[in-house]
């Protein structure tokens, strides 16, 4: 019997080690696995590379991880939130304690999909001629310039979904979906926190936005 449910957040993070590359789901506040991030903070894991759309809102668990010095590098499309004050991430980056690789958001997600889909790379028109394409191979195809983008992988992906079942099927609420499906395909270990664990069959086949094959563990959070 396939049963990917675990009982505690600590169990969900079992094996997540110092120096891991961790994808973190969410866009703004929607879809952020806040409970897993708080558990990661509690766990004490350090030297992390975080791959997420942004550095997190003020008072978010992610910013607490930055404040606690646990994150060595951020790969993201956004380095700041709407707060007036610089965030712990910004302070760390400006002080040289945190590395920051900024990636256009669509390339960020497409590189994860590329990895999860078993492809070796793709040619993208985005950023040609800008600082963010510096050092990348440029190639003219059918009269337009493209840069070669490479797959983006991780050791772990931390996701949030509204519902999950014991096979790991995940159903996201509206725009909480965002980066979840791509991240679920691109990490070696995929861990989801869900608002509710439901019976097998309760998620309709069309609503399993992330099919269970991609998910390794899920934990219910309240």
């Amino acid at each position: 019997m396939i049963d990917k449910r675990v009982q505690t957040l600590a169990d969900a993070l079992d094996g997540v080690a110092d120096g891991c590359r961790i994808m973190v789901h969410g866009f703004g506040v929607a879809g952020v696995p806040e409970a897993l991030l708080n558990a990661l903070l509690e766990r004490g894991t350090t030297g992390l590379t975080i791959i997420a759309n942004g550095a997190g809102r003020a008072d978010s668990a992610m910013q607490k991880l930055f404040a606690a010095g646990r994150i060595a590098k951020l790969i993201a499309s956004s380095g700041r939130g709407r707060s007036v004050e610089p965030s712990p991430f910004e302070a760390g980056w400006k002080a040289g304690r945190v590395e920051f690789e900024i990636v256009p958001q669509g390339i960020f997600v497409e590189r994860m999909r590329c990895a999860g889909a078993g492809l070796g790379g793709f040619y993208s028109p985005v950023g040609v001629g800008t600082k963010l394409a510096a050092g990348k191979e440029v190639r003219a195809i059918a009269g337009r310039d493209y840069v070669l983008e490479m797959p983006l992988t991780a050791d772990v992906a931390l996701l949030h979904a509204e519902r999950g079942d014991r096979w790991g099927n995940l159903s996201y609420r509206y725009a909480e979906r965002n980066f979840g499906p791509a991240m679920a395909t691109a990490a070696a270990l995929v861990v989801a926190e869900v608002d509710k664990i439901v019976e097998l069959g309760d998620i309709a086949p069309m609503d399993a936005h992330t099919p269970g094959v991609f998910v390794d563990r899920l934990v219910e959070v309240t």
């Binding site: 866009f27 506040v29 956004s78 380095g79 709407r82 256009p104 669509g106 997600v109 725009a175 979906r177």
Partner: protein
Amino acid sequence: MSKGLTRRQMAWRAAQDLADGVYVNLGIGLPQDVSNHVPADREVIFQSENGILGVGPAALPGKEDPGLVDAGGQRVTLIRGAAIFDSADSFAMMRGGHLDFTILGAFQVSAVGDLANWDALEEFRAPIVGGAMDLVFGAKEVRVLMEHNTKKGEPRIVERCLYPLTAAKVVRRVYTNLAVLDITPQGMLAREIAAGLSFSDLQARTGARLTLANDCRPLVAPEL
């Protein structure tokens, strides 16, 4: 000297150019207000890059849904006919040329349509590229909505951008509080100028050389 339109009037002006049936992505900040000013007889569909086509008005207090935020973090609603998808599909839609317009904010726009809107090189703050770079390489037409000058009075329309570029030669039209400007092969054309402002006043507040359109009209908007 005339300050021209208010910020709401600027958004109103940009909205008037959106024809019935167009698909539009709005940048964070001032451009988001454009959706509130589309004439009632037009169906204009707004995309939000976090995975919504058919973003509706802001949610009423107490009626917010945790799953419904737009790319700017606002609690929004969906209109009838809306569709939800993941980020990979959302950016495929944008980059693949399926949206008619993107209307973005900017730090600077150059005379040839270079856009700088992701890194203001601030001493204590980090940059945000978000989806802007994908959008400007993907949408059928790129428009900018911004104040004509910085708070310090410096021009945002310049001969050459000082900040890192989002993309070169992509902006086609700029809406400011003072003017509507088109970037054309013949240079930057003043199409509309705020009431009370002469062309030379406008030129004086602009860092790039402008050309006066033959049919230049006053830039006007209703009280809002």
